[in-house]
């Protein structure tokens, strides 16, 4: 058994490891092509390349360069790196507003109903508990219980809950759910997941581009020299990586997403000192098996529980393709934290 602080530490380390793998994979997507060009023999590609002059393939780059003197030029490493940073930055600058307006969310009003008053108060309490600036609070008109957090900078944090959630949960349970969402903001998961989502999309684009270009035809060609054999081997390896990239990056992003859910649960236990309430809330959310209609699948990783009804099944097993860990496992971990707290006495 571990305290929520130890669990948080473990989760953070695992996330870092996966993200490092992610970045290394992206560097390989660019560098692999550059290395291929570097190692690929002198004449053989050039003579075969007239037919492919329209392509942005290594052959056209190679044939354009003077070939006597070989130099390593990390052209594609830089291009793919810049494209990744650029697209990630672009999507980060206009994410929050889009997500909320797509869900027809309206601002919560503390004078409208007792439930909304409690919600606004609970959000303020959890902002104090986690030492962040209170986020804006929104209500989503959906009868299915769910909640999500969006926003990438501390002055632009938002928390939205469905009307179904307000109706279903007690105040303590609502506090647990809000604490989980605030933990996503505090741990900067919204930023991390937005970046990863964008990189997954980018790798799909690269893969598509390569698959459609004539680069595939070049595999197996090349000179007999030792270096060009290395070149061919690298190229084949690179091609395989590019073709599996969309799936591989998707799976890595989902792994990160599941780690961050556990982290947010452990952080929620710290902020509320009441992990049992969040466990009960998760049970209630799992019991409502309907799909949350207003949440688009692209925003699923921002929710308290997956908005897709298949993943919500209480018996659902751990899946490589799920944005959230199985609810059963989450509840079990929360109750374990609770038992540990009861033994130690909270401070």
């Amino acid at each position: 058994m571990a305290t929520f602080f130890e669990l948080q530490e473990k989760n953070r380390k695992r996330t870092k490891l996966i993200v490092v793998c992610f970045v290394l994979f992206f560097i390989w997507l660019g560098a692999g092509l550059d290395l291929t060009i570097y190692f690929w023999g002198d004449g053989s590609v050039r003579t075969k390349s007239h037919g492919y002059s329209r392509d942005l393939s290594p052959s056209s780059v190679v044939s354009g360069a003077p070939k006597r003197e070989k130099r390593f030029r990390p052209i594609f490493t830089v291009i793919i790196g810049l494209a990744g940073v650029g697209v990630a930055w672009w999507s980060m600058t206009n994410a929050a507003a889009n997500v909320l307006s797509a869900m027809h969310a309206k601002p919560a009003d503390r004078n409208r109903s007792p439930e909304e008053l409690a919600l606004v108060n609970v959000v303020e309490e959890m902002a104090i508990s986690s030492s962040i600036i209170p986020p804006k609070v929104w209500i989503i008109p959906d009868p299915d219980p769910n909640a999500l957090a969006v926003g990438l900078t501390s002055d632009d944090y938002h928390i939205a809950v469905t009307q179904g959630l307000l109706r279903t949960l007690t105040r303590d349970e609502l506090q647990g759910v809000v604490a989980h969402e605030i933990a996503h903001l505090k741990n900067q998961d919204t930023r991390l997941m937005t970046t990863l989502t964008v990189l997954v999309g980018l790798s799909a684009l690269i893969s598509e581009f390569v698959a459609r270009s004539r680069l595939l035809n070049l595999a197996g060609e090349g000179g007999d020299s030792e270096e060009s054999k290395i070149g061919v081997a690298l190229f084949v390896l690179w091609l395989v990586s590019v073709l599996v990239a969309p799936l591989a990056t998707q799976l890595m992003a989902l792994m990160v997403s599941r780690e961050r859910e556990f982290l947010a649960d452990a952080s929620a236990a710290q902020f509320t000192r009441n992990p049992e309430a969040l466990a009960h809330a998760l049970e209630k959310i799992a019991a409502a098996t309907a799909r949350t209609a207003f949440v688009k699948p692209a925003s699923a990783h921002l929710c308290i529980a997956s908005p897709l009804s298949d993943d919500l099944d209480y018996q659902a097993a751990d899946s490589w393709f799920a944005t959230h860990p199985p609810i059963k496992t989450r509840i079990h971990r929360l109750l374990t934290i609770g038992k540990r707290m009861a033994v130690q006495g909270s401070h």
């Binding site: 409690a118 309490e125 959890m126 104090i128 508990s129 030492s131 007690t170 105040r171 401070h347």
Partner: protein, 192 residues
């Protein structure tokens, strides 16, 4: 070649020292900020109490004693809070503990008035009061969590080596010293 290796090691040590120093300074700032947040929440509670009492005063004419106890506890808490530092934390904690206990009795009395319960205002009143109590409690908790992290990293190797340069000293935790505060029963939190 050996010179390069020595220089590289030196550079790594200096970079580490800078990051350890910055971490301690940042934790110190967070701890001070969390302390101020307790202050903010206590003041907020002090400001809220007169409003709450005004809202129910008319219907509670013959409960003067309870109302006066709350007001007296509130006033002594206000004076204890004025110019409080982490060193005087225990005095503030005592005064706030007395206030919490008075508020709990007050809530129990309010519960006993069917007239008051019927007005519908009372639900909002209870929610505001319990949220205020929560905010004070969570502000303390956040302070204790931050201060603990600060204290632990001061003692931990190798960050402790930078503690002297960063002028880091252990922060005092907010302990509950008053038996009355420890015994505070929770207000009914159900949302009806």
């Amino acid at each position: 070649m050996p010179t390069i290796i020595v220089l590289a090691i030196l550079a790594v040590v200096i970079l580490w020292l800078i990051s350890a120093y910055n971490r301690l300074i940042s934790l110190k700032g967070q701890t001070e900020n969390a302390w101020k947040q307790i202050d903010v929440q206590l003041k907020r509670r002090h400001d809220l109490i007169p409003n709450l009492i005004n809202a129910v005063k008319g219907a509670m004419q013959f409960e003067r004693e309870t109302l006066e106890a709350v007001i007296a506890a509130r006033n002594s808490a206000v004076s204890a809070c004025a110019g409080a530092t982490p060193a005087t934390a225990s005095q503030v904690a005592n005064a706030e503990g007395v206030l919490s206990a008075a508020l709990t009795r007050f809530m129990a009395v309010v519960e006993a008035y069917p007239d008051l319960k019927a007005t519908g205002n009372i639900g909002q009143f209870q929610e505001e009061l319990s949220s205020t109590e929560n905010k004070v409690a969570f502000a303390r908790q956040a302070y204790n969590d931050t201060a603990t992290e600060y204290n632990v990293s001061q003692r931990q190797f190798p960050t402790m080596l930078a503690a002297g340069i960063a002028g880091a000293t252990p922060a005092q935790l907010w302990e509950i010293t008053d038996g009355a505060d420890r015994a505070v029963p929770t207000v009914n939190l159900s949302m009806s």
